[in-house]
């Protein structure tokens, strides 16, 4: 029944719209499966809240709030005037967290996505073509992996100078080798599958096999790793900020809020709690969403 009505609907529009409606249908199907999982939906709403906070930061409170110093009111606990209290310079912690979400999310999401794109591409090529291609890519990866990630990022930032873009490059570079390894191992497992050989037997080209057969089947573990990376990238960025290599003060960023609060751990612990809670919420929401998406993509877990 359901299938029939869907087919009828899809056949009504003319050819140019046809493709779109098909995509839509698949999207709807995935969304329908996604909705069934409660944790995934909790993660989804948390993610919406965090993203909304970043997008509407200026509406929630003006940027000036988070850099305006008020030395008379330093280290005040949470109150009606300052919801999350004030820091060592009397700046409103709530405003700093709201505005800090912008750089934190941007860094976390974009460095993970970039590293997935680069790592996915290189890993898939290494696994699919094997031999020399595999050797060259993987040996370079090995070399990069021997350098501890934080040192690697430091080196990149030190060479290029401290800025948002360079921080992004540094984090992407340090995150990519792991992604290459993951994708390579997943793809190697998949190239031996009989349906890949079957696809070859009816004349599919290499590119088509990679993008239609291997990538969709590899999506599950990759998405989960991606969302885990987002959380760890937010934390790495804070580490670099702490060393003065990341976001430059006075701009707020969750990681640097946390490291600033360190010296007041016993007198003003709330300065530690609030950024910490938001980092956890952001990380958790991305992880839950990632899990939910990878399940929704897997037709075997359908219904």
């Amino acid at each position: 029944m359901d299938n029939n009505t869907a087919a009828v609907k899809a056949e009504v529009p003319q050819t140019p719209q046809k493709k779109k409606s098909k995509k839509n249908r698949q999207g709807k199907e995935i969304w329908r499966r996604y909705k069934k999982s409660t944790p995934a939906m909790i993660g989804f709403w948390l993610m919406i809240i965090v993203i909304a906070m970043a997008v509407f930061a200026d509406v929630i409170c003006p940027y000036s709030d988070c850099i305006k110093q008020d030395i008379m009111n330093r280290l005040q606990g949470p109150s009606m005037a300052h919801w999350f209290g004030t820091d060592e310079y009397g700046r409103d912690e709530f405003a700093r967290i709201v505005h800090g979400s912008r750089s934190s999310l941007w860094i976390g999401v974009s460095s993970s996505v970039f590293s997935m794109a680069i790592g996915g591409f290189l890993g898939a090529i290494a696994a699919y073509y094997g031999k020399a291609v595999d050797n060259i890519i993987m040996r370079i990866t090995d070399v990069v992996m021997t350098v501890p990630p934080i040192l690697l990022s430091l080196a990149v930032v030190a060479a290029l100078g401290a800025s948002m873009t360079n921080l992004l490059i540094a984090l992407t570079v340090s995150c990519t080798p792991g992604m290459i390894r993951l994708v390579r191992s997943v793809v190697i497992g998949l190239t031996d599958e009989e349906y890949v050989e079957a696809a070859k037997s009816y004349g599919a080209s290499d590119l088509r096999i990679i993008f239609r057969y291997i990538v969709p089947n590899a999506m599950g573990p990759i998405i989960v790793t991606l969302t885990m990376n987002i959380a760890s990238m937010i934390l790495s960025a804070s580490g670099l900020s702490y060393l003065g290599m990341g976001i430059q003060p006075p701009s707020p960023e969750w990681g640097s809020l946390l490291s600033d609060a360190e010296s007041f751990m016993f007198t003003a612990p709330y300065l530690l709690y609030f950024p910490g809670i938001f980092i956890v919420i952001a990380a958790l929401s991305f992880n839950l969403v990632g899990d939910g998406i990878s399940d929704a993509f897997d037709p075997k877990l359908k219904d």
């Binding site: 050989e197 079957a198 037997s201 004349g203 993509f297 075997k300």
Partner: protein
Amino acid sequence: MSEPLLKVKDLEVIYKTDLETVQAVNKISFELNKGETLGLVGETGAGKTTTALAILRLLPERNARVLGGSIEFDGHSIFDITEKEMQKIRGEKISMIFQDPMTALNPVMTVGDQIAESLILHNLEGRSRDQIEKRVEEVLELVGIPASRKKEYPHQFSGGMKQRVVIAMALACNPLLLISDEPTTALDVTIQAQVLSMMTELKEKLGTAMIMITHDLGIIAETCDNVGVIYAGEIIEYGTLDDIFTGEHHHPYTVGLFGSIPNIEKDEPRLHPIEGLMPDPTALPDGCNFSPRCPHCMDICKEVNPDILVNGTHKIKCHLFDDVEGFAATEKEAE
């Protein structure tokens, strides 16, 4: 019926690793005309699947080498064309049905999309998306699956239904040649019968030539016009269905194969398997490959590899028939 559709001549394939060389296919030759079915029977590891993969040029590049011989399909030599041209032949003119339907389907694509794949790749008639969908439905109905199920995923189908989907995929472009690699081994007997009779029916309807690879003589008897018995990478007996099943003279291995089938009329307590194992393909014996297991082994068998002896349509590669009337080593003269 002048030129045969497929001509395999002296095909030799080895698998080479650092440690050893496996002689998988040793000088196999056969021909196949349009609309005919050739059965290839033999034990596991006899080189049946390797032959099939060689025809599609899908041998694993890492370790497989074609040492010699030629494969001509539709007048073109398969080994002389580019990969691009080969991709055009695969799926459109030659398609393959794989052994295990459970793994031959992509789990994240709907069956309709998978059948549509080869139609999209070989879109000669410039079909629109709608026409392709229509063709997908047609093919599905052809193999006995309701068209409404095209939006379902492989795991929602049973084994027999999956095999039908795999067959539908192979038939989508009306190929000239269909290679079925043990299409029914993964199925139970009742489904096996259904699938086989469906394939025979389709073959007659569409005029497709077929190579049926199997180790089941029953399937051969049911579907084939010609039969090649493969042993250790060689065709040791070749002939029409009648030659093999009712003919007078047989290669001792073929006799052994038939002897291994339980006979329902004779009440025998034991089966009669062929004694011994297939020779190690990394170290084939001198002389005839079957000699170590052959009940009629003579001295000459251990030294000289027999020639192919021809009697009409019937070919046997065995010294036993060197002096039998009607058999002549014509292969030699031709060279």
